[in-house]
Amino acid sequence: MRNFFPVITVVAAIMVIWYGASVWMNSKWVYDQAARAGTEVSFGELVKDTWSQERPVLPAPHQIVAELYKSTVEKKITSKRSLVFHGWITLSATLLGFIFGTGMGILLAIGIVHNRAMDMSVMPWAIASQTVPIIAIAPMIVVVMSTIGATDFLGKGAATALFGYQPAFMQGLLPKAVIAAYLSFFPVVVGMVKGLRSPDNMQLDLLKTYNASKSRTFWSLRLPSSTPYLFTSLKIGMAGALVGAIVSELSASPLRGLGARMLTGSYYGQTIQIWAALFAAAAMAATLVGIIGMIERYSLQRMGMAK
């Protein structure tokens, strides 16, 4: 409750600026229309018009809310125009990529910490991989994986045998998940290496006096020590996976998902649709990161490490 007024104040300020900017940025079109028709516009008409255009430069918040409502509640979720449908496509790629990426990241970190050769060789490549712009590499991954036929999570045959049909999200899922994984593994590697190396000398010496094996040291000391680092990395990794999934949708086929909504929206000047997809993506990111935060709090509490 203590946070209520500050939060409300900030939201109100954003709203005021947004509605103002919306009038300002969309006014040119209104004036052009008026000039062409040879009429004058009053300020009241200007405001009314700029907040209700079909393809505004900057849609007003209530237009986005209306679009979100229309494309989620009023559409069947299997419809190609439902934001829930597209959201689920993006979510599935994000989650699968996140699992790939996190698994990869943890394995690489374990390798780096335990093997000197890996320590020297893996990290430079991991860093190099992140300096390549994802927007450049994503189409290549899509093309290469399509060429070798590795695009569907379960092929049509296998999926039909299992479910009687092939769920839409499985089509073209793999390249998207790989791109999502590409962006999410790096923070996990960096965080886990730091976490697995966080035990101090005394804690390590103690296990040495017990003549504990390397795997013992890993399970009893290194892994629990790294837990706080792991959760921080997972949050960044999840956000990365979502960005990867959205970027991958710009070049994957079939054209689906929140990224595809943004792309088609920009083809046809559907700014309201773009903004609605943006908000859906932001809400999804906040939810996913929030869930990790909840698991983090619960785990650290169970481990007696919560503040």
Binding site: M202, D205, L206, K208, T209, Y210, S220, T227, G304
Partner: protein, 261 residues
Amino acid sequence: MTTETVIKAENLDLTFHTNDGDVHALKDINLDIQKGDFVSFIGPSGCGKTTFLRTIAALETPTAGSVCVNGMPADEARKNRAYGYVFQAAGLYPWRTIRGNIRLPLEIMGFPKKEQEDHISKVLDLVDLRGFGKKFPWQLSGGMQQRASIARALAFNADILLMDEPFGALDEIVRDHLNEQLLKLWDRTNKTIAFVTHSIPEAVYLSTKIVVMSPRPGRISDVIESTLPRERPLDIRDTKEFLDIAHRVREGLRAGHAYDE
């Protein structure tokens, strides 16, 4: 008289190579510790007490000379889990409860489940921490954490205890109490104990043998065999015999310092 040498250091030398030069931490250390001895190491800060204890534990490798524990090289003794080590700081794992921390060595050494719990309860009683087993380390005071770390070193019944200033952070009363407890434990179990301290009365009260060390390079300047009986009530500290030994320790420490000037 059966005397069996449990720890034997011969011509021990240890130099640390650091970025800003070499540190000669131990020089010409020769020492025999018999089974059942209670040996205290005393000396000014930085004279190599911790380093010597760590060398016995095979946590440091000597530059020259050798350390034998139970008749084998120190590293082999470590692999045989010959000793329990109490570090200068408690070093409990924050994600384990007190019981969980004490269980750690028992798990690693493969004690049966039932036996683990028995051992834990027994050593918790010994250090007066009964009822705190389910707490996490941060819920305990520094002194209680230190006691828990002693319990952890006692839990697996090693014959040798290496203790690095275990009571350094405790108040006098608790310290007296734990000194008594430790003596009782030592008397009952016939463990061999190597004990680092800064306190002359503590060293004299506990030890059968007091090793006085002096710094730069760290070496042994005096070894004092205590003439006190094994049975030692706290008020033995007011006897003439006690004060005489304490006096000799103080002289030894002073001589070490004079050498320094």
